[in-house]
């Protein structure tokens, strides 16, 4: 099976090699690597396209390994696995049980919280978090964001959403 995978890599040295290791270790035969150094995503990441021939290894294992190493897998064979959105939460996030909030989204089965960064200045002060939610399409993503907003409202958290961008 020939697989074409789009990744987003952080702009730090060694990322490309780190991205290719899980692919080659699975025994896949790498056919081409296109490093779009001139095209940045809004967060400054570099899009990379890797095409490989999969023989014995498993695709989901490769994806897991990449994600564990903090790399975003944007699409596989141009099928966008992920519509994703970044949101910021402000409030007593930890006290209010962030895990519970994430569980509510993950348990839907159609969406997933793929990244959470929490910043706590001091006990008693409101903390802030950025949350990345992914889903397989826009409608499901909207549903997941609605769940987050509902949970946030119950816990008195402020949710900051991105503006709509014209395509």
């Amino acid at each position: 099976m020939i697989v074409s995978m789009d990744l987003e890599l952080k702009d730090v040295p060694g990322q490309l090699v780190r991205a290719l290791i899980p692919v080659s270790e699975s025994g896949a035969n790498i056919m081409s690597v296109i490093h779009h150094h001139d095209q940045r995503t809004p967060s400054g990441a570099i899009p990379v396209q890797v095409v490989f021939q999969l023989t014995s290894g498993r695709l989901d294992e490769i994806i897991d390994n990449l994600e564990r190493n903090d790399m975003r897998v944007v699409s596989v064979n141009k099928k966008y696995r992920l519509e994703s959105v970044t949101l910021i939460l402000i409030g007593h996030i930890v006290h209010s049980g962030m895990g519970d909030t994430i569980d509510q989204i993950d348990s839907t089965g159609f969406a997933e919280v793929v990244n959470v960064s929490i910043s706590m200045p001091a006990i008693d002060e409101p903390s802030s978090a950025s949350v990345v939610i992914s889903a397989s399409d826009k409608t499901e993503l909207t549903k997941a964001v609605d769940i987050l907003k509902r949970v946030a409202a119950e816990k008195d958290l402020l949710v900051i959403e991105p503006i709509e961008i014209d395509s």
Binding site: I88, S119, S130, I160, P162
Partner: protein, 336 residues
């Protein structure tokens, strides 16, 4: 030469800015065959009335020295009712409880067949339809470009320059104080309280900043846009409002790591998915809405022209006077 008589009601930053702009633009106006004569100026202390034209330089000097422009006991209402003139410029303080004193001044102006130009949002945020009906009944002009975005043209842009377009939505930063606070928090990593203190020292934020930072000012401007551009018939109570007081420096850092900034965005849209709300939002750093400092910005989505973006100074004596003067000139050309 066409002579147009006007009164300036309220002689603070904006009122004095209008007087200075008229002085400064005397030749420009003469080239347009307009002779603008300010027949009265009033503040809380009373009025000065001069049918042949108030000496504007002296009026500004008197205000500075004595605290009032008044040379007589006549009140603002006496001026509006009894002194013969064409245009009332209302530059009295914004009050979103009952719209006064501006509301009464504007209604009386229409009753006495005078056009109205204003920078005062209060009466418009509360009684837009009533004011428009009264103006229409007497075939008078009611213009208020200065109420939204200060110097930045938006109402006249949508109504005149973009005539023929359907405006689909408007989204923007309509409060310079909030924009300044969020921009400084982002740049310096300071807390909301620290930057608010700095803004108050610089005169960018009021001693009681709640009107700005709670999003109320932005909401009032959205109401004006919604009613005048989208024909929506809404008031302040219809707006869903969240301010910026809860924004933390950490949230701005987290947003920054994703290539975003946080801005207080006002958004209005009509139709099936009608929206009128003020809420902090994530804006990509390279997006046209990501302007810094005290700037205002608006993105209008239109059916023919596509997206149109304007930015400019949202406040300031002369900047706001610029919008008032453009309205006065429009009336001179159309009506008087």
């Amino acid at each position: 030469m066409k002579t147009v008589k006007l009164s300036i009601i309220g002689f603070g930053a904006v009122g004095q800015g209008v007087a200075r702009a008229i002085l400064q633009k005397k030749d420009y106006l003469a080239d347009m065959d307009i002779n603008l004569v300010v027949v009265a100026i009033s503040d809380r202390g009373g009025a000065c009335v001069e049918p042949d034209g108030v000496d504007l330089e002296a009026a500004i000097g008197r205000k500075k020295e004595t605290g009032s422009v008044a040379t007589s006991d006549l009140t603002s209402l006496d001026v509006i009712k009894d002194i013969d003139h064409n245009i009332v410029v209302d530059a009295t303080p914004t009050n979103i409880e009952d719209g006064e004193p501006g509301l009464t001044y504007m209604l009386e102006a229409f009753r006495h067949s005078r056009h109205v130009v204003t920078s005062n949002k209060g009466p418009l945020a509360l009684k837009y339809n009533l004011l428009c009906e009264e103006a229409k009944k007497s075939d008078l002009q009611f213009r208020f470009e200065a109420t939204v975005g200060g110097a930045m043209p938006i109402l006249n842009l949508a109504r005149e320059a973009l005539a023929g377009n359907r405006i689909i939505s408007i989204e923007g930063i309509l409060n310079g104080t909030c924009n300044y606070i969020l921009s400084r928090m982002t740049e310096e990593g300071l807390s909301y309280k620290q930057v608010l203190g700095e803004a108050q020292e610089l005169g960018i934020a009021e001693t009681d900043p709640s009107y700005d930072v709670e999003g109320i000012d932005t909401a009032c401007k959205l109401v004006i846009l919604a009613n005048s551009i989208f024909g929506m018939n809404v008031t302040y109570d219809d707006v869903d409002v969240t301010g910026i007081t809860k924004i933390t420096p950490e949230s701005l850092l987290l947003a920054g790591a994703e290539g975003m900034v946080i801005k207080l965005i006002g958004e209005v849209r009509n139709g099936d998915n009608a929206i009128i709300k003020v809420v902090p939002k994530l804006v990509p750093k390279n997006h046209p809405l990501a302007v810094g400092g005290t700037l205002n910005v608006a993105l209008l989505r239109t059916d023919l022209a596509g997206p149109i973006c304007v930015k400019g100074k949202g406040a300031g004596s002369m900047e706001t006077a610029s919008a008032v003067l453009s309205d006065i000139i429009a009336i001179c050309k159309n009506e008087c």
